[in-house]
């Protein structure tokens, strides 16, 4: 059981770190660009919210499988498929949790408005400088929310892992899958323990999110 929990936390942790790196420039671009068609990108990013995870998982199974053009470059290095691997799960989780990282950061960037950047420009800060010394600090609550949401969402991920994981202990067998298996195997006592654990965790996440919101709300003038 400890192995399953550790693997789940590891998957969520790795996903969160990579996703924050990936989501920040994307959220910045979505927040600052004025073209209408940027919302096409915005919609693609938001798709995982409404798509059933099993649909996403099925497409991922095809995309990471041996027939996929995406896999061809890797096949030159002897990697036939990324399905059934931890790396495959990370890719799946990044896509699956993408909107939960991009949306809060984008909102935080948008809430800053133009004014601070105009001021920074008059103080001769380069755009890059302004990004690191103005945008990032002001958007901190958004990053905090994105981190918590991404981590929690990945912990609870089920459909995607079910479709591409293959249930390999220590590699792709995560918490939600284990609960599903235990219910299927009629081992309800152990299922209860793990499910209870997830319930407490989810409650703690939601509570901390609301508390963050309350604090940042109060800080605003």
């Amino acid at each position: 059981m400890a192995e399953v929990i550790w693997l789940t936390v590891k998957l969520a942790g790795v996903t969160t770190i990579l996703l924050l790196i990936l989501a920040t420039p994307l959220a910045w671009w979505l927040a600052r660009n004025r073209a209408w068609w940027k919302e096409v990108v915005g919609a693609v990013v938001a798709l995982p919210i409404v798509l059933p995870p099993t649909v996403l998982g099925f497409y991922l199974l095809l995309a990471l499988g041996p027939d996929s053009p995406l896999m061809r470059p890797l096949q030159a290095f002897g990697v036939r498929t990324l399905a059934f691997t931890f790396e495959g799960l990370v890719i799946g989780s990044i896509i699956y949790s993408l909107p939960f990282a991009v949306q809060p950061i984008r909102n935080a960037f948008q809430a800053i408005g133009d004014r601070p950047f105009e001021v920074a420009a008059t103080l001769r800060a380069s755009p890059l400088d302004a990004f690191f010394s103005v945008a990032l600090p002001l958007a901190r609550p958004g990053f905090l929310v994105a981190t918590i949401l991404t981590f929690a969402h990945t912990i609870g991920e089920f459909g995607v892992v079910l479709m591409i994981g293959g249930g390999i202990p220590g590699e792709t067998e995560v918490l939600s899958i284990e609960i599903y298996r235990l219910v299927e195997a009629l081992e309800w006592d152990r299922a209860h323990q793990l499910a209870g654990l997830l319930l407490v965790f989810a409650f703690a996440v939601m509570l901390s999110l609301l508390l963050i919101e309350r604090r940042t709300g109060r800080l605003r003038p």
Binding site: F58, L61, L62, L64, G65, P66, D67, R80, T81, A83, F84, L162, M163, I164, G166, G167, I168, I177, Y180, R181, V183, E184, A185, L186, W188
Partner: protein
């Protein structure tokens, strides 16, 4: 209690059905059907409706979850499980009409690949072949999965192939893994590939594993339902058994 339920059922039936004397006796049976039996169950249900005038409503899902749902009052009359152990448990928990459990179909295990000629007619590919992944259903929850493990053990390959196994949550998933090529080989159900002309397969001799008996039960809720009783009778009959055989199962 029963009188009240019968009265309610009567009221609902009169609401739901057109007012014609011919269907006055028609009733509805609700079936919880193991996902791997979806196709044959649909065909059998359609023929059952034609033959008896009753209506059959099918729900498809994982057998273990059906047990959880039935234990918590799910409105099913008949349970067609993918195995024998869950019906035995359901019966032991007093959720069924006594003495109604029976094997309606026996599954056959197949080693299958979508690649032509990869699987030879005697399954030697398991010991000699070059493949990375072998998909099986979860042996802990799916009878096809435990049959696959038994077969590997019997062939003396269990330890050697353990690192290459990927487990699907169900036999449907084991098939999906194999069908997409993510796993080159898979132990799947004969019923899943019986109509495939492509690929290659080895039908595992039934002597290599214990029988994959799929059992059915008349549930407590269906005990007084004439349509449920009629369905059980129909399922045991020659017409339904012929359908079952056509889909790659051994009939009982």
């Amino acid at each position: 209690m029963t009188a009240r339920r019968a009265l309610l059922a009567g009221i609902f039936a009169s609401l739901a059905l057109p007012r014609s004397p011919a269907v006055a006796r028609a009733a509805e049976v609700r079936l919880a059907v193991a996902a791997n039996f979806t196709e044959p169950a649909r065909v059998i249900a359609a023929r059952f409706e034609v033959a008896t005038g009753h209506r059959a409503v099918l729900s498809h899902g994982a057998s273990g979850q059906f047990v959880a749902q039935i234990a918590n009052g799910a409105p099913f009359d008949v349970f067609l499980s993918a195995d024998a152990s869950r019906p035995i448990q359901t019966e032991a928990a007093g959720l069924s009409a006594p003495g109604t459990r029976f094997t309606y179909a026996t599954g056959r295990l197949v080693l299958w690949s979508r690649t032509p000629n990869l699987v030879d007619p005697r399954g030697r590919v398991l010991s000699t072949g070059r493949f990375e992944k072998l998909a099986i259903a979860d042996p802990k929850t799916a009878p096809y999965g435990s049959a696959a493990i038994e077969t590997l053990r019997r062939l003396g390959l269990e330890a050697r192939l353990a690192p290459r196994l990927v487990r699907g949550a169900s036999i449907t998933q084991a098939y999906q893994f194999t069908e997409t090529g993510a796993a080159e080989l898979g132990f799947v159900a004969l019923s899943q590939v019986i109509n495939h002309r492509r690929g290659s397969r080895w039908t595992v001799p039934a002597s290599l594993h214990s029988p994959i008996a799929q059992q059915a039960l008349l549930l407590k809720r269906g005990a007084d339902n004439p349509a449920a009783r009629a369905f059980i009778t129909f399922l045991k009959g020659p017409e339904a058994q012929a359908v079952i055989r056509r889909y790659g199962y051994e009939a009982s």
